[in-house]
């Protein structure tokens, strides 16, 4: 036994094992059914858009790491999540050059500039999307209808638009349920919303699959369920209240819950651990804040949808929630 070198370190000498990369990889797994459904619903356009989104995010992170002489951080899987979520928030017929630019912005200005993983104050995917919304408002609000007959054989004309030129659209454009509601007071069937048989961003259509993915992560203790619950709770309560007061003017709670990006945002974007509070109570308050903002923007704002801005604002508030909501230590209650 002589001349053996013993390792010495501070206790504890064992750990639970599940590392950051494992958590992140599981989030990717949870997103895969949503990705599959969006490719099924929108065909090649979805496939190309998602690939462009993921690739631009991955390569941006990789090159920025190289450029700043750090070891690349793409293998912690967090940038893969950013890429997929960012892709899922885009309209199916967005020109690919816009998708690529948004991905670069998402990772560089949304994540890397603050110090990379663990330091981003905002959800990077939404930073990318917010940039596109500001820069290309028309392209970001023109939607192609889901389940087009030729979706697996041809791309929409707009997808391959030459960089820095305006896209041309096919006639096959469809209004999202939220836009139909807002501008034409036209409701959508609840079952269609649940199963994703409507038009909208790539990943926001099938609520059932999003819920399943979220439940998987909650079951594996990789997501704080108080965030989506806080969001759903406030959205249901507030919209039911207004619907009850004026059913013609305001949509019902079921519509509010299952339309637009609420489901995807609540399950996969608001729950970005880095940009959300750390305590359970803080997470619920944060969720409630998002729910309130979503209802305000949707019912009285100029835009039909407000999940993205609601989450970004709540991200900004998150550190302040943490400042005020701290656990009371054992033995400090008098």
């Amino acid at each position: 036994m002589d001349k053996k070198i013993l390792q010495i370190h501070s206790s504890p000498h064992i750990s639970s094992g599940a590392g950051v990369d494992v958590i992140m990889r599981n989030v990717v797994y949870a997103l895969l059914p949503v990705v599959a459904f969006s490719i099924y619903a929108f065909g090649l356009a979805a496939l190309f858009t998602l690939m462009a989104a993921v690739l631009s995010c991955l390569l941006t992170e990789h090159w920025l790491c190289k450029w700043s002489r750090q070891t690349t951080s793409v293998n912690d899987w967090s940038v893969a999540i950013t890429g997929i979520i960012y892709g899922l928030t885009l309209p199916p017929n967005l020109p690919l050059w816009m998708t690529l630019i948004g991905g670069v912005i998402a990772v560089s200005l949304g994540k890397f500039i603050f110090g990379g993983l663990g330091y981003n104050p905002f959800n990077p995917a939404l930073v990318g999307r917010a940039f596109l919304q500001a820069a290309f408002p028309t392209a970001m609000t023109t939607w192609s209808a889901a389940f087009g007959a030729q979706r697996f054989t041809s791309l929409p004309a707009s997808t391959l638009t030459f960089p820095l030129t305006s896209p041309q659209y096919d006639s096959l454009s469809g209004a999202t349920p939220l836009a139909a509601m807002k501008f034409n007071q036209q409701p959508t069937d609840a079952m269609d919303l649940l199963l994703g048989l409507t038009s909208g961003s790539l990943g926001e259509t099938c609520a059932v699959l999003i819920l399943l993915g979220g439940l998987y992560l909650i079951a594996r203790n990789m997501m704080n369920w108080r965030i989506p619950v806080g969001i759903f709770f406030t959205v249901i309560v507030l919209s039911a209240l207004f619907h009850f007061a004026n059913p013609h003017r305001y949509p019902d709670a079921v519509f509010m819950l299952f339309s637009g990006g609420l489901m995807l945002g609540a399950m996969f974007m608001a729950t970005d651990m880095v940009a959300s509070p750390i305590t359970n109570l803080g997470c619920f308050i944060y969720g409630a804040l998002i729910g309130t903002l979503v209802v305000i923007i949707r019912l009285w704002g100029g835009m039909p949808e407000g999940v993205m801005y609601a989450i970004l604002f709540a991200n900004a508030v998150s550190p302040h929630i943490d400042r005020f909501i701290q656990p009371t230590p054992f033995g400090h209650r008098s």
Binding site: I14, G19, F330
Partner: protein, 442 residues
């Protein structure tokens, strides 16, 4: 079975238990090592003062060093032999400390020198003095002099003595075996403890993974003794005194206070058994039960080991398989890593765990904190380890203490255990505490 009767303390974790290898193995007497290493400070408080000289011949059980005042305990010879040298001896901290080397006689007998017996009907002060004279310090790991705990301050009333048989550290099964094999000693010890503290009753807490021990205690509890046995759900760190008091009595020890202030004295079950075993004979501690385990150990088991036995002798005797990569004293959650094998087993050592891990395996990568909140959900003291960790990285030690209650942390390791970023949080907190201490002293 554990029922809804006990609302457990909040948070906590469930590390793998690894107790199945040794839980069923009866305690075996360990042979005497040819050379025993005996530090004078094996307890919290002032170190003992030697009363023997080099080359003196000593008999097993003879006093080697006497207590230096009340906050100190004496040390007795664990074996018959010759004092080889009095001076500096190696310690678990990696530093050299005052102590002596004892060369045990080959074929040394197990016979023990007896002192003045302490009768069961002795007075408070007499029992407390007898416990000090027996050299007893908490055998659960902290090694706090037991008699100091039992000296109840004027005007304070203690109603309950908690006997801690939780043993929530993975691998360790010594308390489990002691409860099964020294049941009588435990109840005798409880009689002394109730007498010394003036408490009305004793409660023995046992976790649900030791049903045989709980049953043995229940079946053998004397009718004239106010003692109950409670089976608790398994959760780490339930063996911590504050957590156990919360679970069993639903009382919260206020921050900075001792449990005596809320009427409770906590005593480890092995300590109670030692009191019951030693006092009737007036003996001092010469040995203790430890679990020798971990994947590098051939003959895992529970052994009654003479105090001062070097780790090298223990591992040579039980046999090592594979390449030894880590050895620590105590359990894997709070135990201390041994810097070498010439370190003795002392009164506070509850286990020797030896690992053989693949040295070519890359070390766990440390990621930045991703704010997942698992540490916050794990901390039994309801602190915010994530925030403390971020502050520690910026050397903001005062802020850690003033605003985030660093002093309440008792280093159970739950936060580091669950951290997916593998941040050595407890290590950061230890550094912060020692830096604050240094700043205060300056």
């Amino acid at each position: 079975m554990p029922g809804p009767k006990h609302q457990s303390f909040r948070h906590g974790i469930h590390p793998p238990e690894h107790k199945e290898d040794t839980a069923h193995l009866a305690i075996k007497q360990f042979p005497f090592a040819p050379l025993l290493i005996i530090p004078f400070s094996q307890h919290i408080g002032r170190e003992a003062v030697p009363v023997v000289k080099a080359h003196d011949e000593v008999i097993r059980g003879q006093l080697l060093a006497k207590a230096d005042g009340f906050m100190s305990v004496p040390i007795h010879a664990p074996a018959s032999g010759v004092i080889k040298n009095i001076g500096l001896v190696p310690s678990i901290q990696g530093t050299m400390v005052n102590g002596l080397y004892l060369e045990s006689y080959p074929a040394s007998t197990q016979e023990i020198l007896e002192g003045n017996p302490c009768p069961l009907d002795a007075g408070k002060e007499e029992i407390i003095a007898a416990i000090q004279n027996a050299g007893i310090a908490g055998l659960g790991g902290a090694a706090f002099p037991t008699h100091v705990k039992l000296k109840i301050p004027e005007g304070t009333h203690v109603d309950t003595v908690l006997i801690n048989g939780i043993e929530c550290e993975p691998y360790l099964t010594t308390d489990h075996r002691v409860m099964l094999e020294q049941t009588g000693d435990i109840f005798t010890g409880i009689r002394y403890l109730l007498k010394a503290t003036g408490a009305e009753r004793a409660v023995i807490g046992v976790e649900a993974n030791k049903p045989d021990a709980a049953l043995m205690l229940k079946d053998n509890a004397p009718n004239d003794l106010a003692v109950s046995v409670e089976v608790l759900n398994i959760k780490y760190p339930q063996g911590a005194e504050k957590m156990l008091i919360k679970t069993l009595l639903n009382r919260e020890v206020p921050t900075g206070a001792h449990s005596v202030e809320i009427g409770v004295i906590g005593i480890n079950v092995a300590t109670a058994a030692e009191i019951g075993r030693l006092l009737p004979h007036g003996r001092g501690i010469q040995e203790r039960v430890i679990t020798v385990g971990g994947n590098a150990v051939n003959h895992k088991g529970n052994y009654r080991v003479p105090i001062g036995t070097p780790l090298r002798f223990i591992l040579d005797t039980v046999g090592v398989q594979g390449t030894l990569s880590e050895v620590f004293l105590g359990g894997p959650m709070m135990g201390q890593a041994a810097p070498g094998l010439d370190i003795p087993v002392t009164k506070g050592t509850s286990g020797v765990i030896a690992y053989s891990r693949d040295k070519n395996a890359p070390p766990q990568k440390i990621y930045p904190c991703i704010h997942c909140g698992r540490c916050v959900q794990a901390c039994p003291m309801l602190l915010n380890p994530s925030q403390l960790g971020l502050l520690a990285k910026k050397n903001q030690y005062e802020k850690m203490a003033d605003e985030f209650n660093l002093k309440d942390c008792f280093e159970c390791g739950a936060c580091s255990f669950v951290c997916p970023s593998h941040i050595p949080l407890v290590q950061y907190f230890r550094i912060a505490k020692s830096q604050l201490k240094k700043a205060q002293a300056a």
